[in-house]
Amino acid sequence: MTHAHSAISAETAPVLEAVGITKSFGDFRANDAVSFAIKPGEIHALLGENGAGKSTFVKLVYGLLQPDAGQFFCHGNPLSISGPQQARQLGIGMVFQHFSLFESLSVAENIQLALPAGEVLTSLSARIRELSDAYGLAVDPDAYVYDLSVGQQQRVEVMRCLLQNPSLLIMDEPTSVLTPQETKQLFAVLRRFADKGMAVLFISHKLDEIRALTSRATVLRRGRNVGTMDTKGKSNRQLAELMVGSEVADISRHKEPGKLAGTPPVCRITKLQRPKSTAFAVALDDISFCANAGEILAIAGISGNGQDELMAALSGEWQPPTGDVIVLEGTDISHFNPAARRRAGVGVVPEERNGHAAVPSMRLSDNALLTHHSLGQTVRHGVIDHTATKAIAAQIIQAFDVRVPNDDPMAAALSGGNLQKFVVGREILKSPRLLVVAQPTWGVDVGAAVSIRTAMLDLAANGSAVIMISQDLEEVFAIANKIAVLHDGRLSDVMPADQVTAEQIGLLMGGDDARLGASR
């Protein structure tokens, strides 16, 4: 196979060059002085964990966001990209993770909608066929979108970009919805683009794919550009280390809570199965593990590998059809709804703060009620005691140092970190027997992250069990006693945190389970 990158000379002006691109959301720096260049005919990977700033960067390139500082250059000319339409005029095409096709229209009609007015359907169909043959896309312009598989729909999106003659094609996690065969086909198409001189920016966190497809990779970690390097000759391990951060190993772990060893587990999950509920969902496959008193069990893994599904099963938002799947201290809570599970002693902090863990348009006292209404003290005969809910909110605000503009503000008025402290504090102050937390410090500033982690450690030290679903390996190694990795709906063996390395976990997160045997 001829790779285009071999033909590139160093003098070729980059298709796109980013210099010092910075973007903040409130006090959170999503992109911090990101600089790198994409050459013509190159397949360039943008690599990083979820939350590392990949999506923000792509939105900046495509004009959906404007950078706070920094400059993009195109063939050496400075440019400011004010919107997607301008980005397209500049020759930047983008295929999003989720498609935007009208199911009831044909492929040609869908593409016609994206093009400037005046395009005739018959000639468009002919052009689609022509391009389809040239790149091996196998797109039938007359097919209706509802008849197409996910992979075919993606090819329609690619075709839509191609018709605008882009010099740079951005693909945001394109393989997350594809079967291995479809992935192979897509890679063949992308290589053909590169051979014809088009540049591709390929966003992913799947290490095998990046090594197979791309020539160079830029690694983002916490919004910062860690480096741009050739992917040839790099091992998965080296890439994982770059993505996760080599400083991981330096952080001292929490000591094992020896005094609680030997007590029966607080919560036992046995053969948890959940079929796929939608095309973008992940099936949970036979997950079994125990959460022990005094321990923090980290479930590492990249988002979209069954974390949401596992979380819903643990919180009670989804209940398994059979019993004895989730047993909390001798009580089978499999069929309990979230309110009943809370009464049984489960505290849950979902990943998404806005609209899941909290209602942005409601005051903090009402948000406190959200997870307290089934616990007595706040409600008598169906009537809310607003004095009690305000007192709980005030208690959380005080105990967790939540910075608030007034006594009882709307949740939307709080910064991400402060709202996160509030929703974590809301659960921890109830002293649950089992605390389930997803991405507890995602998008949170360092100070808030420290206080949230300390609170979780204190809860465990007092004899509760903590299950922490996290993709932040630094965090996992900082506070977890045991680690398991969730990949593609399957859970690895539970390993003591002091007996595995970040590299091993990173490999398991990327789906490479040859090194450490997955439990099944």
Partner: protein, 373 residues
Amino acid sequence: MISMTPRKDISMQRTVLTPVFSVLLTLCVGAGIFAVLGYDPSAALYQFFVAPLSRPDQVADLFVKACPLIIIATGLAFCYRANVWNIGAEGQIVMGAVCAGGVALFFPAIPDLLMMPAMIIAAMAGGMALAFIPGILKTRFNTNEILVSLMLTYVAALFIDWLVRGPWRDPESFGFPLTKSYGDAALIQRVELPGIGTIGQLHWGVVAALALAVAAYFVMSKTVFGFQVKVMGDAPRAGRFSGFNPARTTLGVLCLSGACAGVAGMVEVSANMGQLQPEVSFGYGFTAIIVAFLARLNPLGVIMAGLVVALAELGGDRAQMALGMPKVVTGLFTGILLFLLLAGETFNRYHVQINWPRFDQLKSGQLKSDEEG
């Protein structure tokens, strides 16, 4: 180019002043339109806003006009707050009236004291049953409740039409499509104050409507049920996380709004008609949708909004009679009033910003590309 961002905290002062400003603006715009059309603006505005409020009995009639609107909009406020779109109150009114009428006409043996409670229960059941259909179809089969509830309106309208022309027609009605008249126990009496007597058409249904709105305010703001409705409306995912059942919430608010509409139908017939006829509601079920939104889905606000809408309708009637103003003009004026009230509310809730294109973009001809950004 134009961006609307929700305001994070809305001041009380703003909330009170916005509708006042909207009404003032309506007066100006209305006066302009009346003048252009050749009517004396001051006389027209007098007929609209002053005349219907000039005597106690006229004020009482305003409340009577607002009564069904308040009852229905109170129920709808819960529905819409939960993001469930019951557009079929008009049909639920009819079914409430029919069921209550069935009790009044065919069970005259019920003791007088129990007749009214029995009719209320029947009316609630009737309205609820019709509202339950879109609810169960939505929760089971994910159908669109807007379409189903709206279409059932026509079913209900044809059903009562068939009843009063067919099986329920009074044989002594000389062929008119009317049922027998209700017995006295099945009629809602006028409010009689000691020493004053009756005031206009004011009846006990009005008192009940006001009490209902106040009670609904309490339920909405102080009970877990109200909280559940608001959470499911604002953030359904947070509601499920909290332990509320989405399907039960949907069914609950639909049944509640159906029951309210049913009672409104029963009150209209028992207080004003005394027998069933082909038409028992004159668009109240649709007007109440506007009332609910004008009230920002707040049951106490429903009282005010119901009165405002009733005033606009009564004022329109008066302007037609006194000044010979065509119905379309009075309708236009009412429309302007409602439009400006709702627009004012939008400005109250959102910060609207117009971003003029930057000079450098204009210069380099990049204006077009701004459309999507």
